[in-house]
């Protein structure tokens, strides 16, 4: 009996957590007549892809299509992920393998800068971007997101690099491998899973970011998806079907990637909190 009550409570919790996500997908699949019916249906009676078709074919904002925004978002996010992976891997290797002056200060700095609330940096960065002549360009966002994702990426990758036994690299060196070869053949394959995890973090950060994209970009054709969406559904007669279709398309990649990293995320954030 007690067990039954617990399971019921658990299902209620699961329902509360999942329902909005379900409702988003369900609404995106309903024909408009069902969306605006006086009695909502829990499940689409006649599922349709019309909102997706409408979204991909039509103009979100006059003259600009959903595909344009998607492309902007993919460009910004892709560049951020690739660059941050590249820089972070080299930096992490340097920090984990070499001794150099101010190494400890650098490590502490990586932690400290992560504490600064990004929301408070919009104004100074906006003025800086203007002076650099990058206002209203996608590179302004790439540069910003790169700066935000690097400290965490370096910190996390450092752990992966440090976990690779030095002896492996030494053995390779004795066998006549050059430094570059050792890096490519020994270190890289062993650190690759860590690189995937950090890349996913960079992806989620850049993909979801709203406030900087809102501030740095003026031209509607250069909006990233999050900015486009805040404008899109702000209109008077909100086309909820299309809005939910856009939301679903925006959410899906995040949920997919998130499933891959959730374990590490939780473990990392409460690390050391409990004495074993």
């Amino acid at each position: 009996m007690k067990r039954f009550a617990r399971n019921c409570a658990a299902l209620l919790v699961a329902l509360f957590a999942v329902f909005p996500v379900y409702w988003m997908v369900a609404t995106s699949l309903k024909p408009s007549s069902e969306i605006f019916a006086s009695t909502p249906r829990p499940v689409p009676a006649e599922p349709t892809l019309e909102h997706y078709r409408e979204l991909l074919a039509g103009n979100l904002i006059p003259g600009v299509t959903f595909a344009d925004f998607l492309l902007n978002s993919l460009l910004v996010t892709g560049a951020t992920v690739v660059l941050s992976g590249l820089v972070a891997l080299l930096a992490a290797t340097a920090v984990a393998r070499f001794r150099f002056p101010l190494r400890t200060s650098f490590l502490i700095m990586l932690l400290v800068v992560q504490m600064v609330p990004l929301e408070a940096l919009v104004i100074p960065l906006f003025l800086m971007i203007q002076r650099l002549g990058l206002y209203n360009t996608l590179p302004s966002l790439i540069l910003t997101y790169l700066a935000f994702s690097l400290p965490f990426a370096i910190w996390m990758l450092r752990g992966f690099v440090a976990a690779v036994p030095k002896e492996l690299e030494e053995a390779a060196a004795i066998d006549g491998a050059s430094r570059a070869q050792t890096f490519r053949r020994i270190l890289f394959p062993l650190v690759a899973p860590g690189l995937v995890a950090t890349s996913i973090f960079s992806f989620i950060t850049a993909w979801n970011e709203l406030i900087f994209a809102l501030t740095f970009i003026n031209d509607q054709s250069r909006y990233t998806l999050p900015v486009a969406m805040t404008f899109f559904f702000g209109r008077d007669d909100t086309a909820w079907g299309a809005v939910m279709a856009a939301s679903t398309l925006f959410t899906l990649p995040v949920l997919l990637f998130f499933l891959l990293v959730q374990r590490r995320m939780v473990a990392g954030l409460v690390a050391g909190a409990v004495k074993g």
């Binding site: 919790v13 996500v21 609330p117 909820w240 809005v243 679903t248 995040v254 909190a273």
Partner: protein, 272 residues
């Protein structure tokens, strides 16, 4: 960050204004409203997310293996959903014509609805019009997205605590309330500490959810620090100095909380 003590005047160099911007912000009675909104909102959200998250964490710990895994992944789904789309969906659920909540209230027997709320037709009801209702819905959105992290962290903590302690307490006749406060809570105190600090930091700087739910920066009575700073700086006429001063004040508050967090983490490293 020196921008906060300068002001933009056309194309000329920005004159140094010392602490003028801070004096102006702190002297403005509206700033006090914003600060009150922020503190009340953050407190309510941290408390609610902690309570709900802890209850769910405790529940997950008592479920069968399969059920626990299923519910945990459902709960994490809410956490993973981007703040942007999560908020948009809640906005649709509270839509004043075809939203689910509007429909639910319309379904209520007219007599009951009339007696409790003094209205029976909810179509066209502005769910976001009164500040209190707005903040309640914003709280619902933010708690919905933040309780999963608390739940999963508490679960992880519980898993690392030997179960014998709880059993022994129960054998000795302690009820669930007592077991929690005498055994679970003291053992998991570090986890709770970190969770409270992290949630406080997150809830103090809420921006996306508020921006989307309010549909921009027009709804001044519901302003909190992050959106206030943004609106001052970027809605015409731009006042970068004022905006930056507010941002610095927000940062100072968060630094204080962060300092607490770092100290807690360091303490645990020492003892671990």
């Amino acid at each position: 960050m020196l921008d906060n003590v300068r002001q933009l005047r056309g194309d000329r160099e920005w004159p140094w204004v010392g602490f003028d911007n801070y004096a102006q912000v702190l002297g403005d009675p509206f700033f006090r409203t914003v600060l009150r909104n922020t503190v009340l909102f953050a407190t309510a959200n941290v408390v609610l997310a902690m309570i709900l998250g802890t209850l769910v964490g405790l529940l997950l710990n008592r479920l069968g293996k399969r059920m626990a895994a299923f519910v945990a992944s459902c709960v994490l789904l809410a956490w993973a959903t981007p703040a942007l789309t999560g908020t948009i969906v809640w906005k649709w659920i509270f839509d004043d014509t075809s939203g689910l909540v509007t429909w639910l209230f319309n379904v209520l027997p007219d007599g009951l609805s009339q007696a409790v709320f003094r209205r029976s037709d909810w179509t066209g009801y502005g769910w976001f019009n009164s500040p209190l209702l707005f903040f309640s819905i914003l709280t619902l959105v933010v708690v919905w997205q933040s309780f999963p992290f608390v739940a999963v962290s508490v679960l992880a903590g519980l898993k690392s605590v030997p179960g014998e302690l709880h059993e022994a307490a129960r054998v000795d006749g302690a009820g669930p309330w007592k077991v929690f406060w005498k055994i679970t809570f003291p053992l998991l105190r570090p986890v709770f500490g970190i969770l409270v600090v992290l949630s406080t930091i997150w809830d103090f700087k809420v921006f996306t959810q508020q921006f989307v739910l309010a549909g921009g920066t027009q709804d001044r009575p519901t302003f909190m620090l992050a959106i206030y700073s943004y609106a001052e700086a970027f809605s015409p006429p731009p006042k970068y100095g004022i905006g930056a001063a507010i941002a610095v004040l927000l940062t100072l508050i968060l630094l204080l909380v962060t300092g607490l967090y770092v100290r807690m983490v360091l303490n645990q490293e020492e003892y671990a």
